[in-house]
Symmetry: C2
Subunit: 260 residues, 2 copies
């Protein structure tokens, strides 16, 4: 559990010092934030809340006056089509400032819900206005965080537009592993992912049935297994190739997945 001294210790120490925001931008230039900026951000968090699995957090269109940073668990953002079929537009991991974009926009154009049980920290928008007035550098870090989301959106567009079923699933697993690894929540190609096969289908523009067949193919090719909410990557080189995955878009500064 503590075999990896450098990464895990660094992660744990930071999370101990900043229990609510310790994973924010970790692996992406968090180290370039000053201790004061980290402290200001941590102290801006208002309340910590827990929510159960499969719980609605924000509905499309409703005005928002606070934003959530994810501390533990997984959250997804999604949109429904006319017949009620979902399309996930993002999956969030601890350290993500899930709906910070609601601060400049004032409302959201999509729904937000939990996957597994989660813990989030709330940030009042009034307090964020204070940050933009007194801490321009920290403001640019926050802005940057919302732009990483945009970069991931672009990659999802690429995935849906240009890859087949195998590539789409492989790409999703590559992305999640890279992101979880950055915040110290994945090691040795393994990580938890509280998704069902229909959930994966909604993320990849496929049907549950076809996801099932495609997962079998990936398993038979020796690339990965996915069972009971646990992902085990067996051949990450091969998985990256199938996914046409290049982690540049994650703006990581410690990437082990630089597979240009």
């Amino acid at each position: 559990m503590r075999d990896d001294p450098t990464q895990s210790d660094q992660t744990d120490g930071e999370v101990a010092r900043y229990p609510q925001t310790g994973r924010f931008l970790m692996g992406r230039g968090r180290t370039r934030m000053t201790p004061e900026e980290r402290r200001v951000l941590e102290d801006t968090a208002m309340a910590v809340k827990d929510y159960p699995a499969r719980h609605h957090l924000v509905r499309r269109g409703e005005p928002v006056d606070s934003s959530m940073m994810l501390i533990e668990g997984y959250v997804t953002r999604y949109m429904d089509d006319r017949e009620g079929y979902r399309q996930l537009v993002s999956v969030h991991v601890p350290g993500d400032f899930v709906d910070l974009h609601g601060f400049p926009t004032g409302r959201l154009d999509h729904d937000i819900g939990t996957l597994g049980p989660v813990k989030v920290a709330l940030f009042d928008h009034q307090a964020l206005v204070g940050i933009t007035e007194r801490h321009p550098t920290l403001t640019r870090f926050l802005w940057f965080a919302t732009l990483i989301d945009a970069a991931m959106h672009r990659e999802w567009i690429f995935r849906l537009g240009r890859l087949g079923a195998e590539g789409r699933l492989a790409h999703l697993f590559c992305e999640l592993y890279a992101r979880l690894e950055m915040v110290g929540l994945a090691q040795d190609g393994q990580f938890d992912l509280p998704l069902t096969q229909p959930d994966l289908a909604e993320a990849c523009g496929l049907t549950g049935v076809h996801v099932n067949r495609t997962l079998r193919t990936l398993r038979e090719r020796g690339l990965l297994t996915f069972k009971n909410g646990r992902v085990e990557i067996l051949d990450h080189r091969g998985l990256c190739t199938t996914a046409e995955f290049n982690s540049d878009y994650l703006y990581s500064d410690c990437g082990v997945w630089k597979t240009s």
Copy 2:
């Protein structure tokens, strides 16, 4: 040419006063920017440059120290897959701050190129730092602008994940009409669009051949025509239905396309 007094006059007056940035956030809360903020932004523009059609503007990965606002013409952002097939991730119209996201991030995760001939205004990142230090409200407007791009990305994910060929093309045309109409560059369901059928295919995750067949279907259904870079929407209600289009995500404050 000047049949629409309200919209066109408003547009023209604003563009006369702010020749480089007059269309920025037009139809999206530009009116909530103070005259001083508009002036500061206009005066921050360094140089105006012209580029020919089908010209590379920025390459993936290279460091950037300035950003472009589009004044005239069309620009696209795109990514290439392993075999060189493109996926467009956005199409930009005048008033768009095309690569403002390069300011907080310092580099881009995709390529940018012109479609037709364009005119752009350059903004030095050093000058933008100055804005974040002295104009927090204007900073939030700039941030907001980058988040509209993210909202459009999400809608593109939905389009590719959940719609068939007809819906994808219809959705793209709905979006472009709504955006061009906001900045005074589309009326009566008509607008210019310097794209080929293969270009549309790259935007919609289809092949050129299938785009051709699908355009014919849309034409036969009496929804729209697309010929020689000119779009004519014949039945926008029907087009919106086919596209499952709802313009909320464009954050317009004057939308005629509110088709919940």
